[in-house]
Each structure stands twice: as C-alpha cells, then as structure tokens.
C-alpha cells in the first residue's frame, strides 16, 4: 500500500505518533479534578475518553491541515468554552455554492449527504473534497482504533 500510486494525498503518521498523542491527552484528562473523583458517572467518563480519543487523533493526524481534524478541534474547543482561532485558508465560497447547486446525480447526492454527516466538517465541502477527507479520516480512524485496541489488550488482566 505504501508504494501504490494514490492521487489522494493520504499520508498518515505511524502508530506511535497516535499513541503518543492519545496518552498525552489521557494524562491531561487525569490531571483534571473531575476525573479522579470517584462519584463520577461512567457515561461521563466514557464520553470524556471518547472525546480525548478524537482530539488526540485530530492532533496526531494533521493538526489544522486537514478539514476534518480542524473542525473536530474546533468543536472540542467550543465545548471547553475556549475561543480558538485557526488560520483560515481562503475559502472560495461562491464557486463552491455555485457548484453545489448544480448537483444532478441523485445517487451520489444521497450517499454524499450521509457521508457529510458522518465525517466531521463535511458540511461545506464539495463531493470530491469530501472523498479526500473521507479517505484520510478512515486511515486515521483505523490507526486510532488499533492504538486503543492495543492499549486495552495491554491493560486487560492476563
């Protein structure tokens, strides 16, 4: 796969980068007060861990270079009531809007809509860009899943 010609630019860093970021985020979580208190509902904890996983994945995979990671980080920051300012790339909105109004293919439109709901930050993208983002997102997600799986395997009682 590494040598296959891929017009989409999908280079995902290796597992240890993901692992590093994930563990760092988890340690940050732990230093927060709300986490170590015992009277914590499991669902909250789960949610926090999940959020940590996504945020660390976004940071590891591309930071603000990728649209999906950018929107993920933005969402996470908003939840923490932080005001984060990213460097905005120039958005050709008018061209995009005009393009999206010319949709003529109902099959791919429906599926593209579903994809847009799944992939973070997919709302404002054109279909071809959506495909690129999906590819990168899938690679990063699978990497993150592997890291977490290994973590769980390492931690589970033998």
């Amino acid at each position: 796969m590494a040598s296959a010609y891929n017009p989409i630019y999908t280079d995902v860093p290796e597992k240890d980068v993901f692992a590093l970021h994930f563990l760092q985020t988890l340690s940050n979580l732990r230093t927060q007060n709300s986490f170590s208190s015992p009277d914590n509902k499991t669902s909250d904890r789960v949610k926090k861990i999940k959020k940590a996983a996504y945020v660390s994945m976004a940071r590891a995979a591309g930071g603000t270079n990728r649209l999906w990671s950018r929107s993920l980080l933005h969402q996470a920051a908003k939840r923490n009531n932080k005001n984060v300012r990213f460097l905005r790339r120039k958005r050709r909105v008018t061209w995009l809007m005009r393009r999206r109004s010319n949709r003529g293919d109902p099959i791919e439109d429906v599926a593209a809509e579903r994809l847009r709901n799944l992939v973070p930050g997919g709302g404002g993208m054109e279909t071809s860009k959506l495909m690129e983002e999906t590819a990168h997102y899938i690679k990063c997600l699978s990497m993150q899943v592997k890291v977490m799986q290994c973590l769980v395997d390492g931690l589970s009682p033998k």
Partner: protein, 271 residues
C-alpha cells in the same frame, strides 16, 4: 466569399455545425462572421441548433490536405483532455453521415475559386464556439471523472469494497465502514474507562512497552472486526514493525519522562 458560397451555406444549413467551424480555421471563421452579418445571424442560430446532432468532420474528407491540417491542428489545439474526449465521442457517433456530406462539401468547394480557403481549412481545428453551450456538460463530466477516480482510491482503502461495484453500493460500504470505526472507538473507550478508572496505567504500560517493543501488541493486528485487510496493508504493517521498533524506545522514553512527574504526583496524592 462570393454569393454562391453564401447560398450554398444557406442551403446546407444543417451541415453547418461547430465542427464545420473548426474546419474553417481562423480565416474561414472571419469570413463566416461576415456571412453571418449578411445573413442576419441565421447561420449561428442553426449552428446552435445543430450542436446536439453534430458530427465530426475530422476524418478523411480531404486527404491531400491532411498534413496541412494536422500541422495547423498542432498549432491551434488547446491541450484540454475533456475537449478531445468530446470530439472523439462525437466522431464515433456520427461518422457515417458526415462522409457523404463532406464529399459534397469537397465537391462544392472544388468548384469555387474562393473556396480554396474552405478546402484547405477543412479539418481539425478545435472549435471554441460550439463548446460555449456545452461547457457545463464538459465540466460536469470532468467533475464526475474526478469523483470516480477518488472513489477508486477510497475503494483501495476500505477493505471489502472490491466485490461491490457501482457508486451507490461502494458509497454505502464506505459509510458502513466509517460508522463501524466510530462505534469501535466508542466501544474501546468504554472498555478503557472500565479497565482503569483512574488512568494510572502509564508507568506500568510504558515500562512494559520499553522493555519489549516487539511483543507489545501495538505491532500486531489486534482483534478488530475488520481484520480482513488487504495483503498490501499487512506488508506495510510488517515494514512498520521493523522500522518503528527502534523508534519506539525513543518515543516511549520521552513519553515516560513527560508523564513520570504527573503520574508519580497523582500516585502520591491518592495514597
């Protein structure tokens, strides 16, 4: 262009297609503009009307002039792939009906003196004109090709997409895969939270990692649902194993030094 030529053009209006304009070349086009002003835009109306049933005149109507035209084509052709594909398709469609008309044209043009221009400028220059209205379809086609190319790349990434063909099925597969990955993340995070409520695992885990990077399950496949991965991916994973085993020590050492203070302090604070 003398009047006989004009009359001929008027009579054979159905043949005056954008490809014919191509054939005319720049000089011919200028003359045709004059003709247009004379005829009161009739020709251009029919030209626009004829676009749907255009036929390409590019083949072998005037064989002796082919070399000339090829050269002119080389000068005037714009290197746009989409235009060319369009030309080719139309050529395939309508070859039969043009040949007779081209012979007609060549016959007619042979008799006229000023039609030397016509006869010479027969073949291949790519028209700008006819594509003004077709630009949207061309753009649409280019866009669709881009999207299908990207979907092929996606097909390589998502395992199990090879069996399904067609855009809809593949997109459904991709959507299912993304959903399953997200569910796996959620499930694993739940497992993590149950396994280790206080997240104190750093020291132990890191020491185990540092001690034996190869046996640590990070370098294995893991028990995933979608463990049916292509062989390409497994080979890259093996390469990864070879490469990163040396890097892992460095990484884990940095991580360990970073986290050691945190974990130790929390450890002490809890006790």
């Amino acid at each position: 262009m003398d009047l006989t030529g004009l009359k001929w053009l008027q009579q054979h209006q159905q043949m005056v297609s954008p490809e014919f304009l191509q054939i005319l070349g720049s000089d011919g086009r200028e003359e045709l503009r004059k003709v247009e002003s004379y005829l009161g835009n009739n020709i251009y109306d029919t030209i626009d009307g004829c676009i749907s049933r255009t036929s390409s005149f590019q083949m072998e109507p005037v064989k002796n002039n082919e070399e000339n035209r090829v050269i002119a084509l080389g000068n005037k052709r714009k290197p746009e792939g989409k235009r060319e594909t369009r030309e080719k398709k139309k050529k395939i469609k309508a070859e039969d009906e043009t040949e007779s008309s081209m012979k007609e044209n060549s016959n007619m043009s042979n008799t006229e003196t000023s039609s030397d221009v016509l006869k010479q400028d027969y073949i291949h220059v790519r028209a700008r004109r006819g594509e003004a209205t077709d630009r949207h379809s061309l753009a649409e086609r280019a866009r669709r090709e881009k999207i299908s190319k990207k979907m092929k790349c996606l097909q390589d990434i998502v395992p199990g997409c090879n069996k399904v063909t067609g855009k809809a099925g593949m997109l459904d597969e991709i959507i299912n895969y993304v959903q399953s990955l997200q569910q796996q993340v959620e499930f694993l995070s739940m497992k993590l939270s149950f396994l280790n409520p206080q997240l104190e695992f750093h020291i132990n885990e890191l020491s185990s990692m540092m001690a034996d990077p190869r046996s640590f399950p990070l370098h294995q496949q893991g028990s995933l649902d979608y463990s049916v991965i292509n062989s390409n991916q497994t080979t890259s994973l093996n390469a990864l194993k070879m490469e990163t085993s040396s890097n892992w020590d460095v990484h884990s050492q940095c991580l360990y030094s970073n986290l050691r203070t945190d974990s130790v302090s929390s450890f002490f604070s809890l006790k």
